[in-house]
């Protein structure tokens, strides 16, 4: 199986550049040899005097298409290893029409004009200059044309899926159309110019026959077309051998091997069974109202992508309210080679009815053993609260806690199974005394060099793995406990922001306050069950320098530089350049914190609200916060967004470190 540079994600390396360059040379030779270094010849197709463009283009298209299909049928390559352009109807229709007009006017297209320049044609050079201007014009008018650019977006769409035909059949028909076109245009040429070089020639007959045979052979090699109608045969080929997969699938359905009973699921979840991924495929709002503890939410269209990492690894269980959607999704995934996808029998409704319905409400007699089980499950899935009879009431159980947690609340709730406490102090401090059940983690472990920028928060995929190791699930309420620096907690808060995990809070005063108040501590390591925290990049608050630069230019955001004043003014500097982002205002992060005798706390919300009211026009104003590396600014972000309710706050994580080093970015010194 060939791994392409695209599938290895190394299209941006010098190796890829070299290969592209060589392919470009061959491309140029092919175009030139075909006679495409002449605009007269190229435009001939539009006046029926020289149909070479059609002959060359369709032959090339059919050759590459057939070649690629044979390569797939022989298991040389998977279609997923090739970059596939999305179908965007409106953009491609309008773009195609305009392009065609430009083509006939100039007599060139970009590739042929490149060859035209090499052949000494001035009109090719003029055309390229025009095309460069046209590209710049597109960039300058992008904001106007943007709706058109994405209008009719279908994602990746194959012709055979559009027509619900098999791939082999469409390729065959396509080849037939091509052969017909070749004969047709030869006839046209004969009519218009009086001569046709290939019409009726032995060459064209042989050529047509060879194409026909190859296309026909494809239908046999990629299976009987009538059987694979409406499937996606491209994906079918990725399955392990021992085909007749439809039969296998039906066999499994018959034997109900593809189901898991709610009772079995409950047992597995309660016992912390590893390698089980429970997926809720309902819409997000339903999921957030209520879902089975431990389930992740993936919508149907995203399933195959999101589950790639779990393909034939462990067990994936899908559920919805009923059975239809998960069953269809399971079938589709099965055809894509997933052999480990199961359905929850009777769906969520069945689960609630069979596992969570209190014994007192059941009409049938329940044996004592099972009663105990039900109570166990209810304890686990409903958090040990009082009897709830239906799903609507279950939803009330979701935690509603403030972003800033006081020690009192935590001392009452820290033993609850879905409260997870992270202690952000140093390891020795944690080892000698910590809140019972808390885990030690250094805030720095969530940061690193990303694309050359130091000290930025790691990508969501890595963060979610780290969070998995901390046995945190998407349903947990995470409490962040700092030592001396509140911004340690808010930095880790950004981890959860990036993962879209809204249920987290910072314990005001940190461990030192807890300790001073004499609340319980111990030195034990908690027992850990692994959890699966699916990678979800839900970060819509981190911004990069381009977005900041845009705001600097448009003056559409309040940029708050939270570094100490000397750094803001450029009197002190640890970076490539000193000063600040033009237009930024200085509000050091230390201003938001009050020092008590032994510990630091956030200043009272009313006081903070008053301060920021002066700086920021209103609650919906766009605000960008930054510091040197994003650490201190995370605290201002937390204050604005989570404590004061500003809705439009962004975090420039890379901060002054990056801004100062990118010399093309503007700066200001002093005020």
């Amino acid at each position: 199986m060939i791994e392409t540079l695209y599938s290895l994600n190394i299209l941006d390396t010098s190796l890829a550049f070299l290969i592209s360059f060589v392919l470009g040379i061959l491309f140029g030779i092919a175009l030139e040899k075909a006679g495409f270094g002449s605009s007269r010849r190229l435009s001939g197709i539009f006046y029926f005097r020289d149909m070479a463009v059609l002959k060359v283009m369709f032959t090339a298209l059919i050759t590459a298409m057939l070649g690629l299909m044979y390569a797939q049928a022989l298991g040389l390559i998977k279609i997923e290893s090739i970059y596939l352009m999305p179908t965007i109807y409106v953009a491609q229709i309008v773009g195609g029409l305009i392009f065609g007009i430009g083509f006939v006017m100039s007599g060139w297209c970009p590739g042929t004009a490149a060859v035209g320049i090499a052949s000494g044609k001035f009109d090719a050079l003029i055309c390229i200059v025009g095309a460069i201007l046209g590209s710049i014009l597109f960039n300058e008018t992008f904001h106007l044309i943007k709706p058109l650019y994405t209008a009719g977006d279908q994602g990746v769409l194959f012709l055979f899926d559009s027509f619900h035909l098999s791939k082999g059949l469409v390729a065959f028909l396509f080849t037939l159309v091509g052969i017909g076109a070749f004969w047709g245009v030869e006839k046209i040429e004969q009519k218009v110019t009086g001569k046709s070089e290939y019409l009726g020639s032995q060459f064209l007959k042989t050529f047509s026959f060879v194409l026909f045979v190859f296309a026909l052979g494809l239908m046999f090699i990629s299976g009987d077309p009538s059987k694979s109608v409406s499937l996606c045969p491209f994906l079918k080929q990725t399955q392990p051998i021992s085909l007749s997969s439809e039969q296998d699938l039906l066999q499994r359905v018959e034997e109900a091997e593809d189901h898991i009973e709610p009772e079995e699921l409950s047992d597995r979840l309660v016992s912390g069974s590893q390698g089980l991924l429970l997926v809720d495929v309902r819409p997000q709002n339903e999921y957030s109202r209520f879902h089975i503890k431990g389930a992740v939410n993936i919508l149907l269209p995203d399933l195959s992508v999101q589950l790639t990492a779990y393909k034939n690894q462990g067990m994936v269980v899908l559920y919805s309210n009923g059975m239809t959607h998960p069953a269809q999704a399971r079938d589709s995934l099965y055809r894509q080679g997933f052999n480990n996808v199961y359905l929850l029998t009777d769906g969520l409704d069945g689960f609630v009815d069979r596992c969570l319905k209190p014994v007192s409400l059941r009409s049938e007699p329940v044996p004592a053993e099972f009663t105990q089980k039900i109570n166990e499950w209810r304890e686990y899935f409903l958090g040990g609260t009082e009897v709830q009879n239906n799903v609507e009431e279950l939803s009330k159980l979701t935690f509603k806690v403030p972003a800033l947690i006081d020690t009192q609340w935590l001392s009452e709730n820290h033993t609850k199974p879905n409260v997870k406490i992270l202690d952000l102090r140093s390891q020795p401090e944690y080892n000698t005394s910590h809140i019972p059940g808390s885990l030690a983690i250094s805030p720095e472990s969530f940061r690193g060099v990303v694309k050359g920028v130091p000290s930025v928060l790691l990508p969501a995929a890595i963060l979610s793995q780290q969070v998995s190791l901390l046995r945190i699930t998407p349903d947990d309420f995470v409490v962040l406990v700092y030592g001396e620096k509140p911004h340690d907690a808010t930095l880790v808060g950004m981890v959860f922001e990036r993962l879209g995990h809204k249920k987290y809070g910072v314990m005001n005063g940190g461990f030192l306050k807890w300790n001073k108040e004499g609340k319980s501590v111990d030195t034990d390591l908690p027992d850990i069950n692994d959890s699966v925290y699916l990678s979800n990049d839900n970060d819509n608050v981190t911004v990069d320098y381009k977005i900041v630069l845009q705001s600097v230019k448009n003056k559409d955001a309040v940029i708050i530089d939270v570094r100490p004043e000397d750094y803001y003014l450029g009197k002190k500097s640890d970076e490539a350049r000193a000063g600040h982002i033009p237009g930024a205002i200085n509000r050091p992060y230390t201003e938001d914190i009050a020092k008590e005798e032994l510990y630091s706390v956030f200043k009272p919300t009313e006081e903070l609200a008053k301060d920021y009211q002066i700086i920021i026009p209103n609650k919906d104003s766009k605000v960008i916060v930054h510091c040197r590396t994003g650490h201190q600014a995370s605290q201002t972000y937390f204050v604005l967004k989570n404590l004061l309710g500003y809705t439009n706050v962004y975090w420039y994580d890379a901060g002054w470190t990056e801004w100062a080093a990118r010399k093309e970015l503007p700066i200001e010194k002093e005020m």
Partner: protein, 169 residues
């Protein structure tokens, strides 16, 4: 100068081009392209005039401060060199403004320039040109690419009548 060699049989040239495209699929995992490389050059050009403006623009901005660092730029340069190599070896290089004998040079330059602008604009809108969209996407049997291909010819045939004078002999 020697007489230019005749063009290659278009069907054989097509097979050759198709095999190059197939090689590109199998090795790069992406098809051939020309307009993207050209647009990158446009971005570099705009950037050399107005750096921070280009960087903060929504479309070119996402290509970063070094837009030329992209595989299709290298392919575009290769295409020119490949064309040069082939044109040299076939004695087909001639410095000229290609047009109909009785058409004015001004008319031809005007059409070449404005046609070029339309091509540059449309290939960004459709995310590709004859190479990257019609040929590559067509060979992959992508619906949108074939729609683009059909519309390309439709647009060309609709406009052909109005610009025919540039080829009058």
């Amino acid at each position: 100068m020697k007489n230019p060699k005749p063009y290659m049989n278009p069907y054989i040239a097509g097979v050759f081009l198709g095999l190059v495209l197939l090689a590109s699929f199998l090795v790069l995992g992406a098809g051939l392209g020309a307009s993207s490389g050209m647009a990158r050059i446009a971005a570099a050009f705009e950037s050399s005039i107005a750096k921070s403006h280009t960087l903060s623009s929504e479309y070119f901005g996402k290509w970063g401060s070094n837009p030329l660092n992209y595989y299709l730029v290298f392919m575009f340069v290769g295409t020119i060199l490949g064309g040069l190599f082939s044109a040299l070896s076939s004695s087909r290089i001639s410095f000229q403004l290609e047009k109909g004998k009785s058409a004015s040079a001004f008319l031809r330059i005007f059409f070449a320039l404005s046609g070029g602008i339309l091509i540059g604009y449309a290939s960004r809108l459709a995310q590709g040109c004859t190479s990257g969209q019609a040929l590559t996407g067509g060979a992959l049997l992508l619906t949108g690419s074939i729609v683009f291909l059909i519309c390309l010819f439709a647009g060309g045939y609709l406009a052909a009548y109005f610009v025919r004078r540039q080829w009058n002999d």
